[in-house]
C-alpha cells in the first residue's frame, strides 16, 4: 500500500478509532519525553 492510500485509509476510520490512535500516539510521545530522549513535552493544537 502506498503512502497516499495509507493516508486515505487512516482518514476514513471512524472518529472513535482515530481518537484511540491519537491516545496511543500521545502515550508514546509522553513516554519518549519521560525517558529523557526528548527534553520538552510536545505542544498542543
Amino acid at each position: 500500500m502506498d503512502k497516499q492510500e495509507w493516508r486515505k485509509r487512516m482518514a476514513s476510520l471512524s472518529f472513535s478509532q482515530k481518537i484511540r490512535i491519537l491516545e496511543k500516539l500521545r502515550e508514546r510521545s509522553l513516554a519518549i519525553t519521560a525517558s529523557g530522549l526528548r527534553k520538552n513535552r510536545p505542544k498542543g493544537r
Binding site: R7, K8, M10, A11, L13, F15, S16, K18, I19, I21, L22, E23, L25, R26, S29, R41, P42, K43, G44, R45
Partner: protein, 171 residues
C-alpha cells in the same frame, strides 16, 4: 476521551457552558488522518448570566476540579486528556460553534467544527503547524472550497488566504 467528553457534556447539561465544539488538531482528526497532539481544544460559549464584561473560565474549573480534574497551566486534565477551554471570542468562532457537526466518540455525543471553519481558524492563527494542517485539508480535498471562500470573505480572511496561496500553492 470518553470520560473527558462525558464530563464536558454533563457540564453543558447543567448550564455551566453553552454550546461547545472540538477544534484544533483533534477536531482536524475528524476529517484527516490522525496526527499526534498533546491536548484537546474545546471552544465554548459561556452563559451570558455571568456578571461583568469579562467572561471567566472559573465556573468550568470549579465544576471540573470538584470532579477530579487537575489544573496544569492553561489546561485542565480530565480523564487522560489535557483540555484547553477557549471561549468563542469573535463572529468566526461563534459561527463555527453554531454550525458544528454532531458526532460520537465511543457512544458519547459531541460536536466537531466543520472542516471549513477549522481551516479558516488555522489560517487566521497562522503558525507553521496551522499552515501544514491547512495544506493537509486541501491536499486531501477534505474542504469544500466554495464554502471555505465564503467563510473567508465573511470574516475578512481573504488577505491571509491570498498570502497562503502565494506561499504554498502557486508554483
Amino acid at each position: 476521551m470518553k470520560v473527558t467528553l462525558e464530563l464536558i457534556n454533563q457540564m453543558q447539561s447543567q448550564g455551566v457552558i453553552g454550546r461547545y465544539a472540538i477544534g484544533g488538531a483533534v477536531g482536524a482528526t475528524f476529517y484527516l488522518e490522525p496526527a499526534a497532539t498533546f491536548d484537546v481544544d474545546i471552544f465554548v460559549i459561556l452563559p451570558t448570566t455571568q456578571s461583568g464584561p469579562l467572561l471567566s473560565l472559573s465556573p468550568i474549573y470549579e465544576f471540573l476540579t470538584a470532579r477530579g480534574g487537575r489544573v496544569e497551566g492553561e489546561h485542565i486534565t480530565i480523564g487522560s486528556w489535557p483540555v484547553q477551554f477557549l471561549p468563542a471570542s469573535d463572529d468566526l468562532e461563534k459561527e463555527a460553534l453554531e454550525q458544528a457537526v454532531p458526532t460520537e466518540v465511543d457512544g458519547v455525543r459531541t460536536w466537531v467544527m466543520t472542516a471549513e471553519h477549522l481551516v479558516a481558524i488555522a489560517l487566521r492563527t497562522g503558525r507553521p503547524k496551522d499552515h501544514a494542517r491547512v495544506l493537509q485539508f486541501l491536499e486531501t480535498a477534505a474542504v469544500d472550497r466554495k464554502q471555505l471562500e465564503s467563510i473567508l470573505i465573511r470574516h475578512g480572511l481573504l488577505p491571509q488566504w491570498e498570502r497562503f496561496q502565494e506561499k504554498y500553492l502557486e508554483k
